[in-house]
């Protein structure tokens, strides 16, 4: 059944690619909730980055409400958790605390991570500019990202 499904999907991908030859396209694969959770767990089991001391990955990623989700979101939620953990360290540490420098170094790595290279689109360098501002003492934008993007992290870490 799965083999047939894969063949059908490949046929559909082919049809779609033909229809969109004038556009630069990247076929996105969509999965259901169970497979999204599986992909998250696979990513967590072999995660290439270092979490701050005392932080672990939750057993499950944040649930999504409906429909299908891009397959990259499975690993993406692990990368967001990692990123949020280091934002937390940065925002919690005092200026001059060596933890801040350590956290900043990790946060600067975000756009170059394996996942972000494929799925994060930031031509204007908003993330780098945010960190530059934070380094100069303006934490407004970084705190904004932390508050919006890290709701799940904050709930599982009770932050």
């Amino acid at each position: 059944m799965r083999g047939v499904a894969a063949l059908l999907a490949l046929a559909l991908v082919g049809a779609t690619s033909t229809a969109c030859t004038s556009e630069p396209v990247d076929a996105e694969e969509y999965v259901d909730h169970d497979e999204y959770v599986l992909l998250y767990r696979e990513a967590v089991a072999d995660f290439p980055e270092r979490l701050p001391e005392g932080v672990t990955f939750p057993a499950d990623p944040p649930p999504f409400e409906d429909g299908l989700i891009g397959a990259g979101n499975g690993a993406g939620m692990a990368y967001f958790h990692w990123n949020c953990a280091w934002m937390d360290v940065y925002l919690s540490a005092s200026p001059g605390d060596p933890l801040r420098a350590e956290a900043l170094a990790e946060l600067r790595r975000w756009p170059g991570t394996e996942w972000a290279v494929e799925f994060y689109d930031d031509p204007g360098g908003v993330w780098d500019a945010t960190l530059d501002k934070a380094e100069l003492g303006d934490l407004t934008t970084l705190r904004g990202f932390y508050e919006a993007d890290c709701a799940y992290y904050r709930s599982v870490e009770a932050r």
């Binding site: 059944m1 799965r2 499904a5 894969a6 059908l8 999907a9 490949l10 559909l12 991908v13 049809a15 779609t16 229809a19 969109c20 556009e23 630069p24 396209v25 990247d26 076929a27 996105e28 694969e29 969509y30 999965v31 259901d32 497979e35 992909l39 990623p61 944040p62 649930p63 999504f64 409400e65 409906d66 429909g67 299908l68 989700i69 891009g70 397959a71 990259g72 979101n73 993406g76 939620m77 967001f80 290279v117 494929e118 799925f119 994060y120 689109d121 930031d122 031509p123 204007g124 908003v126 993330w127 945010t130 934008t141 904004g144 990202f145 508050e147 919006a148 993007d149 709701a151 799940y152």
Partner: protein, 151 residues
């Protein structure tokens, strides 16, 4: 200008992906101003009306101004179908859904659940689906759209 990398992603095709057809979400980004950026996005939606939640995340700073979408092309849509699109943070859509005919070429502005056009600073991904009433069957190939997405 961003380098959009299409890496060699492991092919993982579940049954669900098949039933909803395939989809495309991509970007070539063109900086529009010092603040907001315009991304040229394109998507292929499922015929069954399933919500497709994309993976590409783009940053938005609240101070930069309203986030918008303006369709530039569409193909394989039935007359009574409409596009429904919203922005998601992580697993949850945080904006109201915009709903309009794919023939529309006006600029549509995303709003928060409370109706504000000032979206919080966050990294957003796109949710989209065909919103139809009586008949979700495709007329041929799955419906597609391209748009300028300002974020």
């Amino acid at each position: 200008m961003a380098q959009i990398t299409h890496g060699a992603r492991k092919l993982r095709l579940g049954l669900a992906a098949v039933t909803a057809a395939c989809a495309i979400v991509l970007g070539t980004a063109v900086p529009a101003s010092a603040a907001l950026r315009t991304y040229k996005i394109s998507a292929t939606l499922g015929c069954g009306g399933a919500l497709l939640q994309g993976t590409t995340y783009r940053p938005h700073a609240q101070a930069d101004g309203p986030a918008t979408i303006k369709l530039t092309s569409h193909r394989y849509w039935r007359d009574f179908w409409e596009l429904r699109v919203g922005l998601r943070v992580g697993g949850s859509q945080t904006t109201q859904s915009l709903e309009f005919k794919p023939t529309s070429r006006t600029t549509h502005t995303f709003r928060t659940a409370r109706g504000s056009t000032s979206l919080p600073t966050a990294r957003y991904a796109t949710n989209s689906r065909v919103n139809f009433t009586p008949d979700g069957r495709c007329a041929g190939l799955p419906p597609t759209y391209s748009a300028d997405h300002r974020l």
